[in-house]
Symmetry: C2
Subunit: 405 residues, 2 copies
Amino acid sequence: MGLISYRSKYVNNPIEEQDKLAYKLIKSGKKVIKLNRGDPAVYFKTPKYTVDAYVKALREGHTGYSMAIGVPELKEAVALRYKRMYGLNAGPDNVLITQGLSEALVMINSTLINEGDKAILFRPYYTVYVPYMKLFGGNPIFEKYDESNNWNVDTESLERSLKREGKSKRVKYMLLTNPNNPTGTVLSRNILEEIVDLANEYGILLISDEIYDELVFNKAKFTSICEIAKGIPYVILNGASKNFDATGFRLGFVVIPNDDKISETIMEKMENFAVTRLSSNTPAEYAMVETLTNQKDHKKALKTLVGGIEKRVNFAAKLINESEYMHTVVPRGAFYIFPRVNFDNLKIKDDKKLTDLLLTEELVQITRGSGFGDGNHVRLVSLAPEEILEDAINKINKFYNRHSK
Amino acid sequence: MGLISYRSKYVNNPIEEQDKLAYKLIKSGKKVIKLNRGDPAVYFKTPKYTVDAYVKALREGHTGYSMAIGVPELKEAVALRYKRMYGLNAGPDNVLITQGLSEALVMINSTLINEGDKAILFRPYYTVYVPYMKLFGGNPIFEKYDESNNWNVDTESLERSLKREGKSKRVKYMLLTNPNNPTGTVLSRNILEEIVDLANEYGILLISDEIYDELVFNKAKFTSICEIAKGIPYVILNGASKNFDATGFRLGFVVIPNDDKISETIMEKMENFAVTRLSSNTPAEYAMVETLTNQKDHKKALKTLVGGIEKRVNFAAKLINESEYMHTVVPRGAFYIFPRVNFDNLKIKDDKKLTDLLLTEELVQITRGSGFGDGNHVRLVSLAPEEILEDAINKINKFYNRHSK
């Protein structure tokens, strides 16, 4: 098939690779427990005040294109959020609105990556970091979140890697995820400071994906990169989907706080990309202005959401750690669990086979760890009520027992 | 600036390159006449039944992710629209929902274009066809819409070009726009048949951007490529923005009707791209299910819209053709006017200078023709009421007089 591009084989997302099959099963009357996609809106309704604001925007006629780079009021509201939460001194011009964080990643890679360039990812990584780099011919350098150290960044290994590769002009950025998807880690301030120092020393652009920055629990303390990375160019990714429980709105926020030449040029080029597609979803942008501004209702909604997530994640993690086939570090942020699977005790050869069989045999849909760069694990979304999580984990254990050596 | 990718210099959209300046002028109290962006929703409100359906979707809780490839009911509704309008025998699996047609173009180019590949565009082209090809290292082969023949395709020139380049496996597709943006041409069935024959003979994938397929007037008869291209693989692009007056929803429809191996593989790879970004805007998708299904209300809204466009386009075209500095072929589809500018009589050196000066001196924002690959023209969006169009064209004429030789 000479018609299809080489890159097409990398462009995919394991989180949804079973969705067509799952949809068929559901259409045929089967009850599938879907723990594959991180969508809080399934079990925690998008807050009413947000939906009301969306309806109001529609009724007021905000149905045409907005400014491509984002509704000015929304950019202002995002800047103010960062001022309020982290003391960041940024204005609306430091903010770009995208169609979800995924589009932001496409734009960043398009802006930075030439064929053959590299960028540093930490493994396990969010699934699409790799395909979006490969879109433009980039190749990841994999550093690691260390499971034996609560999935923290191994900064010594990072430093060795930077010594080897960091002075090359072809290493374009280093991308952190904090709080982490899939591990649920919240990086400590100390670790972040070490990373910032290394980025500074080797002149590597730091990108911090902080889309779960308010979904933090089990006494974790979140530190934004913007509280530390004062002197160097850096990029923060955030959005409506997770903290604001509005996944279906498709709105991402890119914040590039500094006004140095590098920061400004990156913002300019990303804005140029944004104008090629004319607009994000306009009424959703207006809904998010209200959502970001109305702190009282947001705090209330967030309390319910984070409280619910903490209970459910802890419940599921406990059950998982009682299984003889799985073990997980207890998450402190986001809403995923990423247990190690004891394949030595199973007749199943790998995580792909495991998740495929699990869906067809037990009607439970989870995501293979290899999609995140680590095939010894699987990812479960822990947003469902306890009884559903319990049912799913019981089924997984039953499944393991049936396939044990 | 070694950090920025080479491709970044191509990624832009002349339609909005003046938007930041225009926004500043407006914020400072100036009244700018914006004729740069093709947004029917500014002057023709998005139909109430569509907005009602959007609100209903929100109230019913459709705020989370949808299936990445599109809400099944919407894919079904799009397939039925093609059945109803063109007798096309396609099902929901032949349809993909994207975040606007621009995202569809990114996906198509990612799926087909390797570094150094080519594709045939017809000049003047819609602005972002080129940057989206360049994202992936592709290079356009320019064929032409012939102004001296009412902007029809010059099929003889196309055939010569195909003889030269068409047998190369590196020519990946040929992209038509019908009805045309920026010229407003509606291609005749005869011309389309010749093009389909050539595509067939040279084995070139045909892509037809038909996003204005219901916005046809001045007695033009629109023919969809799906009425002709029976035996060969082809792709149709459409969406919510123009026919349905819902630009701010950001929904595109990709239709790949055939079930041959090539068609199926292209659809599969585009779907794989779609899952990387998880979902389009969900409540908007549900709004479009109702909009596509409720034919009575759609016909009513369309009659108002097309009737209004026809009057305004004809009004503006007449005024333009009375100017000694401009001449236009009268459009029969879409809502743009693309007049030739008589630069010989002006002291202004090119279309970029012209549009920049026009904005600052007369507060009229239009788009330079070079953005469409033809610097002897400019593009005006003719959606505003007559008095605004008249005011704008008077100001343009005054501007020309001031800058005449």
